[in-house]
């Protein structure tokens, strides 16, 4: 839960008033809520740090890489978090 996972913005989901984006996380595309970053300028290719399905901060590529490397060191805890993110229900229905 405390792990922030870096993801790269792949597309903004239209019709959600800037609340949802598709983010590439560890090679898998997931929807995440970006409502907390409304004050930021977000573009495709930008990196964000994701906590429990919400992008909490915009980060740069260097920070994303460093954070990912640290997360990989966690081993099982990281695998479980990414698996949980993949299995998460933040899919089509959540967008409506």
């Amino acid at each position: 839960m405390c792990l922030g996972i870096p993801g790269q913005l792949a597309e903004l989901v239209p019709g959600t008033e800037g609340q949802l984006a598709v983010v590439d996380v560890a090679g898998v595309r997931r929807r995440v809520n970006i409502g907390l970053l409304e004050d930021e300028v977000l573009e495709v290719g930008d990196w964000v740090l994701i906590h429990v399905g919400f992008a909490m901060s915009k980060i740069d590529e260097a920070e994303a890489e460093v954070a990912l490397a640290s997360l990989h060191l966690l081993g099982q805890a990281y695998d479980e978090e990414v698996e949980a993110l993949r299995a998460s229900a933040l899919g089509e229905e959540a967008a409506s």
Binding site: M1, C2, G4, N33, G35, L36, L37, E38, D39, L49, H51, V52, G53, F54, M56, S57, I59, D60, E61, A62, E63, E65, V66, A67, A69, S70, L73, L74, A77, E80, E81, A84, L85, A87, S88, A89, L90, E93, A94
Partner: protein
Amino acid sequence: MRFVDEYRDPAAARIVLEQIRRLVGDEHHTFMEVCGGHTHTIYRHGIEHVLPEAVELVHGPGCPVCVIPMGRVDDAIAVAEQPGVMFTSFGDMMRVPGGNGNLLEAKARGADVRFVYSPLDALRLAVEHPDREVVFFAVGFETTAPSTALTLLKARADGVTNFSVFSNHVTIVPPIKAILDSPDLRLDGFLGPGHVSTVVGNRPYRFVPEQYGKPVVTTGFEPLDILQGVQMLLAQRREGRCEVENQYSRIVRDEGNPRALAALAEVFELRPHFEWRGLGFIAQSALKLNSDFAAWDAELRFDVPGVRVADPKACQCGEVLKGVIKPWECKVFGTACTPQTPIGTCMVSSEGACAAYYNFGRLHREVSVSVGAGRPS
């Protein structure tokens, strides 16, 4: 891996360590790392063993799973076992023991307990199961509380009425103050928490230098971040400064995330007091849903026993959480209490000091003791 090397570069670490050695002087320095993520990095990379002996790091209360008292877990189980309830929780909380077992055991007894990645998943379960009462077990500091707030705002906007939140959200500043007021402990400064500060910013820590005369350096999670944080604390002491500094400025802004703070203010209010494991009751240290969201407040919608349960006698999580003892000084550490069969919360979460030490620190310590190496002279 172009960038990782910058944060793991042994040459850079040696330079910072040399600066640290020059700054230490004849004094002993005791710094608390507030965040469980710091504790993890410190043990994982053996940082205790490269720092001069005069610099002592003690672990703070910044692991949200670790600070939940047993009575609240029992309350969660009581709600989960009510008819018609589908109880949802982050995975970290499933194995945290209460006085009456843990949520996994409640599930084995027949309660519908489900693990979710996000509060939004819990909300979606409510939409998919209109005949059930879906309750979300909300835990965490200001890092996760805004997510719960946004989920509640969405529940209200979408008119989802069979969803509620059992809030155990806590705030970071009151426990720091409680620790500063504690007679057990003499601290010389704080490595301030990283991720939670992306939300609250650096301003809330100003009372630490202003009222208690201790420096705070908000610090990141890489080994070099921790070393730089220590170096900055030492430099403040050596130069006679005492202020809040930001080592983690690549992520943390002084003003935090105003959008997240606004969401918190819209949904939550401070509880008059809340019990913390090991720290006792701390005034205005936790968040409950405000009256606008009463319809989504599980504590109002369900019968919550609210019984206070004392920690097991053998368990010394309280002392570990206050930094009074080190994990390995607890009587049951690594014997009766292991990550597989945790007695106390600090052994459950991977960010808990005991689990982090059990997994990594023990090795470093045994190695460095046995070969007499590690700590530079």
